[in-house]
Amino acid sequence: MTIKLIRDHGQHYRPRMACLKKVEALVIEMQDPKSGVKSFEQKRNATSIPHVIAGQDITAWITSHMTVDAQEAQALGTMLVAYGFIYPLQDPKTLILRPDGSLYRCQTPYFWPAQKWKAQDTDYAIYLAKRNIRKKGILDQYEQERYRKLHKWLNHKWDFIVNQAKEQTRAGKARMKSDRVVFSYQERAYWIVHRPPPQTHSAMDYGVDRLIDPNAEEVKGEAYTLIWCRVPSVLLIVLLSCSSSLVKHTMTYQSHDPFLTPCLPSNPWQTDDDTYWALNMPDVDLPTKMTVERWSYGFYELLRDPRGRADFRLFLKKEFSGENLAFWEAAEELKWGAASAISEKAETIFKTFLAPGAPCWINIDGRTMGLTVKGLQHPHRHVLDAAQNHIFMLMKKDTFYRYLKSPVYKDIQKKAISPAPHNFTDAQLEQNARNRKPGLYPSVTWQRQQKEKVRTTTLIDIKKLMANKLDRQ
């Protein structure tokens, strides 16, 4: 019985891979002795192994056979290599098709990728054990790590894995020497595709498994056709009316989308360098130019970014009108906080912001004030919603535009850093991968935020208190 993974959310099905059958047909056509790719022999240490094909021959054949241009033939050829139907002999870890004289060979059908047959961990463990025997204990760094992990997870099967590895090595020794060499190449190519080493991009890396079986036929009832097939016409009308605002939204946010524009300085997931995250921390001193630009897109963007909110708070402190933002933040806390703390928070908010003669009295119209005060007698989560919305619109229509024209904002715009994009070489990338450290724990950042919040709110309170007392006198 194979033990499935612990975090089993029921996702056992691989996605549809309809392209594999089509690629198989293409590979079989390549084998035709008359109209296929011409193969020759590879000379290796006094043995010669047949059926080797050159990269340029493959691209030429695809160009003529499928009548496409050279660039597309190159892309198709790379797809063949990335799926594992053809494997490179000279640089096995880079799965691309080089259109020069580099040598490739076809993979045996047992090792072809298929949707039904997932590459199992047990088989990978047997392969690593065999490789251990062959290399006499000197495995690559990533292979050693995986070996240790597999030894921990598959410990109950480890006897079987060791025995099978030894038996398979002995069975392999019973074959001809050239066949043994070819088999070892084939197996290595299979595992490079299905368990790619770092920096290798294999096409079988499809992400997470699916929840429902994509090969199962979907049964749709009559209600589905009655209701859901009428919807498209309604949707079309709605879409047409929203399209202009959608276009405007996408144009403004296009440069901020990491899918469409590469993020500066470099994507940490690809280059293992976390400067991007360090520059976007909530308590950073100097934000990036992209962040500062984003604040000007809308008031909610400014409030959403913690660094932007801190900057806005600084501006309001200079204008002595920090109570609006403080009230908004307190109302947010009430809305999203624990239910047990609601009545307590409501009390403090009333005393600090709403009571006549309060230290940070907010200026809202009489009707809203009346409703809120009445609601606060029986406080619930959304009792401050009306007041909060009023304050939000006030800040948005008035204070936000003054902020955008203020010296505080212009100052931070000038000081903001625009990081240069990184250009790492392969050696530097490997160095980065080795120097990966665990980042800050979220609990640490949370504690820092709490401390910061306590510091700023007490400051405002005391200052407001003093200012108000002076005004009245």
């Binding site: 019985m1 192994i49 059908p109 047992y110 199992q120 006499k136 240790r148 025995n163 038996e167």
Partner: protein, 245 residues
């Protein structure tokens, strides 16, 4: 004793599974042929026989309530070995069915994949069947009839695995392996020495295996030392004679 028999039979099953995997990986490639299909059929039959024998033995041993805890742990370990072998055999059989259907032998234009493998797999098959030479006696229609048989056999194996899971209550995660990481490196000396048709000895304890290879290496050293001293003596005697004569 029951344990020894079990272990020998499990080792034989292990060997046949490994050879079957080698044979299936050659299907559809240039080293495929009628002989290969026959070899696959024979290896499969042998694997089935061994599997049934193992299953009856192990279920009988595990159903016995009077065995000690240590014995029970040992039998559970053997059971995990058996089920893992069977899983691999089942997957290989299903794959050989698919590949066999995709690459039939009796068509006017055979399009086997040019993988670079040109030799035959006779030696692997003879290792699996534990015979010196393989005899090929199948008729020309082997691939079609074989595939039908294969489907029936796969159904049988599925049924057997289901029965096994239902009848025997063994928790696989509770089994502790006897060999630690890197154990395969320790007996690499023996792998070079084994010949084609020899059934491998069962590996009971790693200490035992370790001492066996150390003993063997020590014996070699002693022999080398004796030969060296003999050569020195002869050289000394000759020198003495030459000087005196």
């Amino acid at each position: 004793m029951g344990k020894e028999e079990c272990k020998t039979m499990l080792d034989a099953l292990n060997k046949v599974t490994a050879c079957y995997r080698h044979l299936v990986s050659a299907l559809g490639s240039t080293s495929d042929s009628q002989n290969l299909r026959e070899e696959l059929k024979k290896t499969r039959k042998k694997a089935q026989e061994l599997a049934v024998a193992n299953r009856t033995k192990l279920t009988a041993l595990l159903k016995d309530k009077t065995i000690s805890n240590d014995d029970r742990a040992e039998y559970e370990r053997l059971w995990v070995l058996f089920t893992s072998s069977m899983e691999i055999l089942e997957v290989d059989m299903k794959r050989s069915l698919e590949i066999g259907q995709d690459f039939p032998l009796k068509v006017p234009t055979r399009h086997f994949i040019q993988t670079g493998m040109t030799g035959s797999t006779t030696t692997v098959a003879s290792r699996a069947m534990s015979v010196q030479n393989m005899k090929y006696e199948a008729d020309a229609n082997i691939d079609l009839t074989d595939l039908r048989d294969l489907e029936a056999e796969i159904a049988q194996v599925d049924q057997m695995m289901e029965d096994m899971e239902m009848k025997v209550q063994v928790a696989p995660w509770a089994v502790e392996a006897k060999q630690e990481a890197g154990a395969e490196l320790r007996s690499t000396a023996s792998i070079g020495n084994s010949s084609v048709g020899v059934i491998s000895l069962c590996e009971e304890e790693t200490k035992e295996r370790g001492s066996w290879t150390d003993g063997e290496a020590g014996l070699m050293r002693v022999f080398a030392g004796i030969i060296f001293t003999v050569v020195l003596l002869i050289a000394g005697i000759l020198g003495y004679l030459i000087i005196n004569l």
